[in-house]
């Protein structure tokens, strides 16, 4: 297992290097000039030129890239052009909050989704199945900015139970996590249902029933574990995406995570911040995938990882 982790981490280095090249090139290819955006209404050609020089944007691209890589190797992500503050500090803080929100949302999504999925698979065709299917569909197809605003309207304005947005205690986490989680729950419920139905139709389930096991044990012990692999894959994929920052949720709930940070950085063409965020995003995807592979082994002893 340890060897697996090590090799995967090493294999990740070239992938991340490729990401730095791509991001570096792409953000400079799209139109827009950070110096001019920053100088704004006050823009004089002098100010723009001075800013370009301050951020060394006047140097050839390969030179800029080399300087960026060199700093990166020392763990320095540079300074934001929009605020002139170091990127690393703020990125760490924002990532922490995104991680918190993503973890809470995935908890909501997994609990609700798996429960709903099992219920509708085991009672296939019943009224409960129909209700669960409709709920899951509603979860998937409700735009987050809408469900988020409705949640605020209900639980902050009509019933003043929870804050309308921002950060602070756990109470601030509830609405954004539920809003984001409901969306994920829909996807997971659909996946769990179809995967469970497939598993329940297999030979070993019939065997388990034939030897007289209680239905509860058949479903939750034997079938569920086998049905989980595709569900875990979907979960990991969702979690990975959420780590990139849930832009709409963060905007509606004024949650200062990575998503909003990225949007603001792109609007200002804040190159160091964009590069930092994408790098963190790519790295977290690598880690999540590694964790996913490990979870396959735990779920299914037949899977070999070497």
């Amino acid at each position: 297992m340890l060897r697996l982790c090590l090799t995967r981490c090493l294999a990740g280095v070239p992938a991340l290097l490729l990401v730095t090249v791509l991001v570096f090139a792409v953000i400079r290819l799209i139109p827009g000039d950070p110096a001019r955006l920053l100088a704004g209404d006050m823009a004089t050609e002098e100010t723009v030129a001075e800013l370009r020089q301050r951020w060394q944007l006047d140097r050839p691209l390969p030179v800029q890239y080399a300087a960026y890589l060199e700093r990166l190797a020392r763990g320095d992500l540079g300074r934001s052009t929009a605020t002139s503050l170091p990127v690393a500090g703020e990125l760490a803080e924002r990532f922490g909050r995104t991680l918190l929100l993503a973890a809470a949302a995935i908890l909501v999504a997994a609990t609700l989704g798996v429960l709903l999925g099992i219920l509708s698979a085991t009672r296939r065709g019943s009224g409960l199945d129909v209700v669960a299917t409709v709920l899951a569909l509603a979860g998937v197809s409700t735009p987050i900015f809408w469900s988020g605003l409705i949640l605020i309207l209900l639980f902050s304005v009509q019933l003043p139970w929870l804050p309308a947005g921002g950060t602070g205690g756990l109470s601030h986490l509830v609405l954004p996590a539920v809003s984001l989680g409901l969306f994920g729950a829909g996807v997971i419920a659909r996946q769990t249902r179809s995967s469970m139905l497939e598993t329940l139709g297999q030979e070993f389930v019939r065997t388990a029933r034939a030897k007289g096991l209680a239905e509860r044990a058949v479903v939750y012990k034997h079938a569920l574990k086998n049905a989980m692999i595709p569900v875990v894959t979907v979960l990991a994929d969702q979690f990975g995406r959420m780590l990139g920052g849930a832009i709409l949720t963060e905007t509606v709930f004024s949650w200062p995570g990575m998503g909003r940070y990225l949007i603001e950085a792109i609007a200002m063409r804040d190159y160091p911040v964009i590069q930092g965020i994408i790098l963190v995003f790519a790295s977290s995807f690598l880690v999540v995938n590694l964790l996913l592979d490990i979870s396959y082994v735990l779920l299914d002893p037949r899977v070999q990882l070497e």
Binding site: I30, P31, G32, D33, R36, L37, L38, A39, G40, D41, M42, A43, T44, E45, E46, T47, V48, L51, T81, A82, T83, S84, L85, E90, E93, R94, F145, G148, L149, I152, L153, S156, V157, P160, P163, A164, G165, G166, T167, T251, V252, F253, S254, P256, R260, Y261, I266, A267, M268, R269
Partner: protein
Amino acid sequence: MATAAGRLALLALLALVFAPLGPAAAEKDTLTIGMPSDVPIFDTHRATGLYNGSVLNQVSEPLVLLSSKGEAQPWLAESWEQSKDGKTWTIKLRKGVKFTDGTPLTAEAVKFSLERFRKHSIGKATLAVVESITAVDEHTLRLTTRAPYAPLANTLGYHWIVVYSEAQIKKVGDENLHTAPVGSGPFKFVHHKRGQEVRLEANDQYWAGKPRLRTVISRPYPDISARVLALESGDVDLIFQVPPQEAARLARNPNLVVYTPPTARVIWLYLNTQKEVFKDRRVRQALYHAIDRAAIVKSVFAGTATPLHSPGPAGSYGYTETHDHYGYDPEKARRLLREAGQPSLTFTVHHTPGRYLLSGQVLEAIQGYLKQVGVTMKIMDLEWGTLSQQAALPVERNPVQAALFGWRSVNGDIDSAIQDFGSRFWRPAGNNLSFYKNEEFDRLLEQEQGALDAKKRLAMLSRMQEILMEDAPAIFLYGEPQIWAAKKSLKGLDWNPLESLFPLHRAHFED
């Protein structure tokens, strides 16, 4: 006996538990403001990009305050005088003002801050005309300018040009001032948690009077609907940038009140006068006649915007409406277009959705009006980063035929709104996106800025507005409203036209 004591104890306990709900509850003394964006960095001299004067200026103040009429009012500066040759300004500072670290506000300290602004700020061009800054004595400051520059006093009201404690800057280091800024304002900086909140506490030694609030908090709510809901739920007491449709709804709420103080932000439809389609002045005038500005203000903005009758902003120093002869007259528009040989003109307008309030709806309305006189206007939506770069290209490569841009005066003097039509401000050197050139205008611009006689200067400003209205290098559409909404119990607020709150020492909550 024992039970009586027990009952008493129980009562006491209950009283404790419910005490905060009783009528004895203390007066509310924390103001929470919901802003569209966070303060990027709590140091106005180093501030870049979007930023929020309403919050920053509670800690550090400018020398003068701009009134809603665009006049410079004494603040940290008690009086000022321009010399006979117009190049020297003597500024008397208010005595007895202290920074919140206890050090006195002296001419030396002001000089230090002005020079710091001139060194770091991306807005330093606003003070480029200043040649030297001298502290004459403890409370007298002297500024000399390269040429006579009449709007200087107003420029000092620009809310980036504020005074910080020199001692504090030296103590924490110039780069780190944003972590613990110290000024002379009604509130002291407590913390700035980036993306979350700014917290300020009362400065009881404030020179203009002890603040009635104890704490001011500012939180960013980037989503408009979420910001409005935060006010309705009571999470915040005051919000900025309320959409006009929501404003009408909020105004009906008995606990809330909506404010629309005047603003210096104006919206113009620039017409590139060097492009073939707009070379003929009659075409530009025709567009002016074809658009019903009053109707747009009424229908799109529910009356909250201000129609412009000059480049504006309405209410700025020198503004006059006397030269607007463009009534809504589609017949005249058609005639002018025929005379110019362009009866079925087609052009494209560049626009960034969401950057200016309701600009998309405004353009659609204009599109409709133009259609009626045979003009086809195509709307090209571009993201701001892209458009700002294209619009900055020099005339021979500039692809923009027309563009809807908003623009805000920094000093409340109409000079700052119209100077960009000078031919030396053609892009990329300045903001003359119309690539407009008029020799009389250019000459007046040089003279006006150096004029010492206020009356003569006003006459020149009036003539310059007349020229611009006649030549129509842009359609001067309307002044964007700044819309705030607050709890009705919140009193003592006032705004300047630069879209920020005056010092909040008089603000308080009433029952």
